[in-house]
């Protein structure tokens, strides 16, 4: 988890801990010091921390990416248990992560939408592989051109099929998103405003699924 960078290196932190012990820290510094040390400052953060470390994926295999997903879950080499996500649930009632692993055909789309609706809140969706993200190479009559046409998707994992490590990186990105630090977009991280191809007001910052309006 990318923790907000503490000012200075270890040396600085040791000095501040020393001052705190001698009672020389006071006022705002003391509050800041305590705030930093206490992980669960708010119930909200505690909840997100608990949800992040215990994701229950819905065992939902469509096509070839499902084989890689089962390999991620089943094979001891790269294992989802390290992220607390190896408890695969097969009913949408008990799952909170829907990994769309494979190509979404037009006959299957209503069923996936119904499964997504039947999942309980809070729920997230990972579009694993090129076929779920954008129908990949199957630009034809039978495949929905990207799962986000009919349901909100949180993390897109590229690859056909993505390597197990790629899926695990996708889940780590999802954990960042659950933890609530929204600096996922590269524009915020590199303060790249004003470089869009055409002028657009700086992206409004409410989280969730607002797609940036362009042009």
């Amino acid at each position: 988890m990318t923790r907000t960078p503490v000012e200075g290196d270890l040396r600085v932190r040791q000095l501040r801990a020393q001052q705190m012990l001698r009672g020389e820290l006071a006022g705002r510094d003391l509050d800041e010091f305590v705030e930093e040390r206490l992980l669960f400052t708010k119930l909200e953060t505690a909840q997100n921390w608990a949800r992040k470390n215990a994701i229950f994926p819905l065992g939902f295999g469509l096509a070839c990416c499902a084989i890689e997903m089962i390999t991620v879950i089943g094979s001891p080499r790269n294992d989802l248990a390290r992220f607390g996500a190896e408890a695969i649930r097969f009913t949408p009632r008990q799952a909170d992560l829907l990994i769309l692993s494979g190509r979404v055909s037009i006959k299957m789309a209503p069923i996936i939408r119904r499964l997504y609706d039947q999942m309980l809140e809070p729920k997230w969706v990972i579009a694993m592989g090129a076929c779920a993200s954008s129908a990949g190479m199957f630009a034809n009559y039978a495949v929905v051109q990207g799962a986000d046409k009919f349901m909100p998707v949180d993390v897109y994992v590229p690859g056909c099929p993505p390597r197990p490590e790629a899926l695990i990186y996708g889940i780590m990105k999802l954990q960042d998103k659950i933890m609530g630090n929204p600096d996922m977009g590269w524009r915020e991280r590199y303060q790249a405003y004003g470089t869009e191809e055409r002028e657009a007001e700086p992206p409004r910052h409410e989280g969730g699924l607002e797609v940036p309006r362009r042009g």
């Binding site: 390999t71 089943g74 494979g102």
Partner: protein
Amino acid sequence: MTDPLSVPYRERERSVTMERMGEEPVSGTEATVEGDLHDELFTINIGPHHPATHGVLRLLTTLEGEVVRDVKPIIGYVHTGIEKSCEDHQYWKVITFVERMDYLAYYFNAMAFCMAVEQLLGIEVPPRAQYLRVAHMELNRIASHLFAFATGALDIGAVTMLWWGCRDRDLVLDLFEMSSGQRMHPRYIQVGGVMEDIPPGWEQKVRSFLELMPKRLDQYLALLDRNEIWLRRLKGTGIVSQERCLELGVTGPLLRATGHPWDLRKAMPYSSYDHFEFDVPVGTVGDNYDRFKVRIDEVRESIRIIEQAVDGLPEGPWITEDRKVALPPRHELATSMEALIHHFKLVTEGFRVPPGEAYAAIEGPRGELGCFVMADGSAKPARVHMRDPSFVNLQALPEMAKDSLIADFIACVAMLDPILGGVDR
């Protein structure tokens, strides 16, 4: 004709046997007819999203208490229109599409398609390429069977097999990654031979894998073969007679489990399979246990084949010398003009195949995998059709599941090992 959707889908999917039984299926409601226990039928969907259906297969099952009276497999939930997309791409790119049909036996799909195109082109595949193709296909067969053991045993309750199966399957995927750069769908088999020669350390890795694999198989059998639950669940369930299998066009481990030794590698050898001596494992009764045992023995036979293939690997080119079909090596581009022209023609437009039709069939892990290619002289195939074994074997499922308990029915689906990508194409 009434609008098909106005009729609730259970009536629309009326199972054929219901007419013969002559009573209205009580779809999930109380028994309207106060008879004795036996005539209350209950129709339920073991539907597209289900842990035991190995993908998105929908089984409309009519149950009577615990006994399955009738099953109607409804497929198409992962139909990707691959055959239509193939007609829109050059012969090079079709291999990528064809590999994604049966996503556990990708080397076999590419091999069937390449054999059909080579038959149309009439080119000769060099011996080294044939041996490499055989080695990779048999490795893929082992990987596919391992995955079948992993998920099949998981459905029946032996969860350890999932970890073991995936652990050993990863070893095979490392070999694929080393030889072709990708774990799944590597596009290693090209028209006319193989993409590249194998890297130097590959043979040692394969040999170490081949020594390890029999020990792993003994581990599986130690876990399963003397396990009373496993034997009681598999022995004597899901029996389909040999004549019925042949009528239904069932091929592969299911047919060999009934005792019929039909294996295309032995009967109609292709790609130098006649150079290797191996046996065809055959079952006796044709129940789920025989299917499991036939697959275990097939893995042992594949190990023998790979050993002979890797030992006797001949020297020479790994792809055909015919420049019209295969890309010339990079160093030649700097020197010879023809190589540059051939390279340019191949990369921009792809090779042209004279008009004709060819049906090439090989022995996939699930049965006969045939590829029908129709060429109209242009650089794109006019029609590519894959005769997928799972698609045809699925028709035997209602026969297996008739009057069996739900648990045995799930064991039948597990041992049938359908791959829905190949079924729905």
